[in-house]
């Protein structure tokens, strides 16, 4: 589903990604962990070209990410959820969800609204359809953001630290939605500090540091028996 070969990314002189190779299969849930500044968010953002890559090839669902046309086509198939939600503040929850289906997929309004309401129901916010984002809590906003991404019927979902900006008591409601999604067979790449989630839902855990993949494997092996000393030291600090 996702093939990444020799991915490098520079910000000016700073080399943030130093050669990433990675293959993510359909329906796989991959959790990316690592210290801040390790390049994990940048890696995720490269997967839908929110960051230009310096060197390397990315192929998503058989389509190489190289031209502008391809990029727009890919982004329709790859949903993204941001740390800071990024809901459109001038639109209600429902309007946020149906905007892209209407103007990008050309779904008619009625149909889009039906899909939107169904998704709001799925994330437990059917009663908030007509609320503006500033009337919603952080956890509710993030669930709307997930519904918004799902409305495009993506094949892959990217999560960039989806619970890091939330009050602790709201983390659970967002993770619950993500767990449902994983159970339904969505291909997911999740950058997170929620090790419980990684352990429970992840098919594979990738540990990144200094712009490379230091270690990867099943949650049991990475958490239970880390091989790389960097992984060991990172895990000992957070577990």
């Amino acid at each position: 589903m996702i093939h990444v070969k020799n991915l490098h990314k520079h910000f000016g002189k700073l080399e943030v990604l130093r050669g990433i190779d990675c293959h993510i299969k359909e329906k796989e849930v991959v959790v990316v962990i690592g210290p801040s500044g390790s390049g994990k968010s940048t890696f995720l953002r490269c997967l839908n070209k929110l960051e230009e890559t310096t060197v390397g090839d990315i192929v998503i669902d058989g389509i190489p990410l190289n031209s502008e046309t391809n990029v727009n086509a890919i982004r329709r198939e790859v949903g993204m959820v941001f740390q800071r939600f990024n809901l459109f503040p001038h639109m209600t929850a429902l309007q946020n969800i149906i905007l892209a289906p209407e103007i990008v997929r050309k779904t008619n309004k009625k149909e889009a609204e039906a899909i939107g309401l169904e998704l709001l129901n799925k994330v437990g916010l059917a009663d908030k359809a007509n609320e503006y984002p500033d009337r919603l809590s952080g956890g509710q906003q993030q669930r709307v953001a997930i519904a918004r991404a799902l409305a495009m019927k993506p094949k892959i979902m990217l999560f960039d630290e989806p619970t890091s900006a939330l009050d602790p008591e709201m983390v659970g409601e967002v993770l619950a939605v993500m767990k449902d999604l994983a159970r339904e067979g969505m291909t997911m790449v999740v950058v997170t500090h929620e090790m419980g989630f990684a352990r429970e839902v992840g098919d594979r855990v990738i540990f990144m540091d200094e712009g490379v993949i230091m270690e990867e494997g099943s949650p049991e092996s990475v958490f239970g028996n880390p091989q790389n000393p960097r992984t060991q030291s990172f895990l000992s600090k957070i577990l």
Partner: protein
């Protein structure tokens, strides 16, 4: 020292009101041109294309970096010579509106640009991540939010333009200022008449600035919408 003939104020009221109408028409026309021009320039200024960006920057630099008075003279005297046409009868009015519109376009472009850039980067990223094109994300996500933020500075630009419109008196366009000048020439009462002219401008700018404050407050309530 002569005496002040205050009764002239009442006598001059009607002709000055006529001049005021011209001033308002001039300002409104210039603002309309400026908004359209400014929107295009702002989008060009933010474009990825270097040529478009360069044209916009050169335009903005020129019109903000030279006096409006000079620009009015150039449009009025130099354009007919440059393009070889006869001045039509109402050319003063066309040149006045044109010069002020070209000038305010540069200022309004910068207002729009800063409004667009004040929108959180995450908004554009979210839009693009949903598969929207650059143009779609501008139209549906960025601009609706930016428009609300630019209303107060845009209002201030209107007020500045209204006052600066008095410069068109130099090309004998019968606006409020020029009408005042003519009356002074006839009555030799500069203090009384210019005081009245100033009051006319003051009333207009006060009304405008109250209106700007009002919209600012109203939008402020729903700032995040």
């Amino acid at each position: 020292m002569g005496e002040f003939r205050w009764e002239l104020m009442a006598e001059s009221f009607k002709p000055l009101l006529k001049g005021t109408v011209i001033t308002l028409e001039l300002t409104a026309g210039a603002v309309a041109i400026g908004i359209v021009l400014g929107m295009f320039l702002a989008l060009m200024r933010l474009a990825n294309n270097r040529l478009l960006r360069g044209i916009a920057i050169a335009y903005i630099d020129f019109f903000r970096g030279t006096p409006l008075l000079v620009q009015i003279m150039m449009v009025y005297f130099a354009f007919p010579q440059l393009f070889g046409f006869q001045m039509p009868d109402n050319y003063q009015f066309i040149a006045g509106i044109g010069a002020m519109g070209l000038n305010s376009g540069a200022y309004i472009a910068e207002i729009f640009r800063s409004g667009i850039q004040s929108i959180d980067r995450g908004q554009g990223e979210a839009a693009r991540s949903l598969g929207m094109s650059h143009a779609q994300s501008m139209r549906y996500v960025i601009l609706p939010q930016a428009v609300k933020r630019v209303i107060p500075p845009l209002g201030n630009e209107f007020i500045a333009l209204l006052k600066d419109s008095s410069l068109v008196a130099i090309i004998a366009l019968e606006d409020l200022m020029y009408t005042g000048k003519i009356i002074v020439g006839r009555t030799l009462q500069p203090f009384v008449i210019y005081f009245e002219v100033a009051l006319f401008y003051l009333v207009m700018t006060l009304i405008l600035s109250r209106f700007v404050n009002y919209t600012e407050r109203r939008l402020g309530k729903s700032d995040t919408r």
